[in-house]
């Protein structure tokens, strides 16, 4: 166990899987210099040009490299530098890699991980700050993973690389700067299993990515008022471990869902609907959603701060359940 940043944990997962399986390679923009976030730092020196493949700023071709290479037996990691850039690659992600196995009657096996970096990070404005995870949760054939901390990040990425399906692996940029204890050896955390980050009795908070950390902060504050939050991190958004969420709500009878993405049609809406479907009789209050307002991400630091959902929004949402 060593304290590592989430960035270092991601780097370690890629390194260890590349060491274990020579079918694994990384392709992306600027990956040979380690990528702008450092997730591939040192890998080019270790694995060379063949396995750390710099591509043009060409997200559609880059993603196509992943689809084609996976169809004939390789295990690509395709890095889309900033999540907003996925829009350029959407045909290859949504029409090709997600549907190929089904359309071909099961002929294809597509072990691809698309790694990308999402969310707000110091005035990057509307085209470099998006949290677009819900787009991919709507597409059958894809798995979607979004860790909140270094330990989960390493174990989930290891599992994603070993998985035989396309996985969209989303790192929240502000989570990447946080650190926690991470084993040095390789380990996989199963996809589709949620983690209870804090056991509580009064309100279930299902939080995604950075909002998991904010939910834990909110829990400390609300504990002083005698409200005891249970914080659940789904970690995998598709397929989602709804069993853990529903069980928790059956115990607490109240729920808040929270993410950095725009609230409208966010993954929180799906979680809220699932709770309504499967735990309606247990609810003492409506399910509240915390998310960003229905605007593009603003540039001005003041507006960005106003836009960004955080611990105080979760505190307010929880308090509203008691009025």
């Amino acid at each position: 166990m060593t304290v590592k940043t989430m960035t270092a944990a991601i780097n370690e997962a890629i390194d260890q899987e590349m060491g274990r399986d020579d079918r694994v390679f990384v392709a992306g923009e600027d990956v040979r210099v380690g990528g702008p976030f450092g997730t591939e730092a040192g890998l080019h020196a270790k694995y060379g040009d063949k396995r750390i493949v710099n591509t043009a700023i060409s997200e559609l071709a880059l993603t196509g490299i992943g689809v084609g290479a996976a169809a004939v037996g390789l295990r690509p990691i395709i890095e889309i530098m900033i999540m907003d850039f996925v829009s350029v690659a959407m045909d290859q992600i949504v029409n090709q890699m997600a549907k190929m196995k089904y359309m071909l009657g099961g002929q294809a096996r597509l072990p691809i991980v698309v790694t990308t970096h999402a969310g707000i990070d110091s005035s990057s404005a509307a085209q470099h700050s998006g949290s677009l995870e819900a787009w991919f949760c709507h597409v059958p054939g894809l798995k979607v993973v979004m860790p909140s901390n270094a330990y989960d990040a390493k174990g989930l990425l290891t599992a994603a690389i070993q998985d035989d399906n396309p996985v969209i692996y989303i790192s929240n940029k502000r989570c990447m700067q946080t650190s926690s204890e991470v084993p040095d050896e390789s380990y996989a955390l199963p996809l589709g299993v949620a983690d209870v980050k804090r056991v509580g009795s009064d309100v279930t908070v299902v939080a995604i990515g950075r909002l998991v950390l904010d939910a834990l902060t909110a829990a400390e504050e609300l504990a002083k008022e005698g409200i005891n939050l249970e914080v659940i991190d789904p970690r995998t958004l598709s397929p989602m471990d709804t069993t853990t969420i529903v069980k928790s709500v059956q115990k607490t009878n109240r729920a808040v869902v929270a993410h950095e993405a725009v609230r409208n049609c966010g993954i929180g809406a799906e979680i809220a609907a699932t709770i309504a479907d499967e735990a309606f009789d247990f609810l003492d209050a409506p399910v509240k959603r915390v998310g960003a307002p229905f605007t593009p991400v603003p540039f001005a630091p003041l507006l960005e701060k106003q836009y960004l959902p955080g611990a105080q929004d979760i505190v307010a949402a929880v308090r509203s359940l008691y009025h």
Binding site: L60, V67, G105, G141
Partner: protein, 324 residues
């Protein structure tokens, strides 16, 4: 170029097989016996066959929505293809893909594609894998003139050039993108000119002359296989029928234009050539064609009687079971 009689004969048979397959696919669509849309390859047979005859069995192709010809030329089984059109469990895709998604990965056929130009980035990935696996295989991407106006074409050509990917881009310029003339939507007269932007050879070939297509393909494939990088072949051809089916009803084409191209029917030209070279006489050619036509009829009869997909098939093949 010296071709053996056996090769020349096989080319004739393969082109005829494609023609007879698609003429019947058109009728089946008009009779509503098969489902969905059928995009006919009639008129373009010399390209698929001329190119695929130059490939090894373990080489790869990507195809298009107008893909039946590519599948047959790369060794696809016509009964399984008809079964797929009939949406049967025995079809190549188990009845879950249809005409626009037919694929046979074990034959190196990565698949037809319903999205114009989408096969090019995928083909790039397949060719990249051949470099990675050092397996000496070549990937051919077939696509139409319309695809060359998609970003995917330009992104794939650029990256293929940079990676020196072992692949050949084969453009079937049939004069129309869907229901509009190529010149109304394309900034160049010759698609081959676009190769210069990506530092690769761009060659114009008479797409109705199978010997010319074959010769150009041999050269481009050899270049790709020997590490010389990708090339673009533009095959000038003509779609005998409409974008969808034989006559969808929205496009009126000049009958003289159709007649001009029909006079250069690639199968007719090749038949005349083989008779001139003494490979066969007209009577033998007719017998070959009749035998292929009969084999199509029996393939259709068997495919139509094949079992439908089970209701459970709706939910299978969405995800793979991971095998660590």
């Amino acid at each position: 170029m010296d071709l053996t009689n056996a090769t020349m004969l096989r080319m004739f048979e393969q082109m005829t097989r494609i023609r007879e397959f698609d003429e019947r696919a058109a009728l089946l669509m008009e009779q509503a016996r098969v489902h969905g849309s059928v995009h006919l390859y009639c008129g373009e047979e010399a390209i698929a066959v001329g190119v695929c005859e130059a490939l090894n069995q373990d080489d790869y192709i990507t195809s298009t929505h107008r893909g039946h010809g590519h599948l047959i030329a790369k060794g696809g089984d016509v009964e399984r293809m008809y079964a797929e059109l009939f949406a049967k469990a025995t079809g190549y895709n188990g009845g879950k893909g249809g005409s626009m998604h037919m694929a046979a990965l074990d034959l190196g056929i990565i698949g037809a594609n319903g999205i114009v130009a989408a096969g090019l980035p995928i083909g790039l990935g397949v060719a990249f894998a051949s470099q990675y696996q050092e397996n000496d295989r070549v990937t051919v991407c077939f696509f139409g003139d319309g695809a060359t106006n998609e970003g995917a074409f330009h992104e794939a050509m650029n990256m293929a050039s940079i990676l020196k990917a072992p692949m050949v881009f084969v453009c079937e310029n049939n004069g129309y993108g869907e229901w509009s003339k190529t010149e109304s939507q394309t900034s160049v007269t010759d698609i081959a000119d676009r190769a210069a932007s990506y530092s690769m050879p761009g060659t114009i070939v008479d797409g109705m002359d199978i010997a010319a297509v074959h010769e150009a393909a041999i050269e481009a494939i050899a270049r790709a296989r020997s590490g010389g990088g990708p090339s673009l072949l533009e095959c000038k051809t003509y779609r005998f029928y409409d974008h969808v089916g034989r006559d969808f009803g929205v496009l009126q084409r000049d009958p003289q234009e159709i007649a001009r191209w029909r006079a250069r029917d690639p199968i007719k030209l090749w038949r005349e050539e083989l008779i001139a070279q003494g490979v066969f006489d007209g009577k033998t050619a007719d017998e070959i064609t009749a035998a292929i036509a009969a084999s199509m009829e029996s393939a259709i009869a068997r495919a139509e009687q094949a079992p439908d997909p089970t209701p459970e098939a709706l939910y299978t093949d969405v995800y793979s079971e991971t095998q660590v």
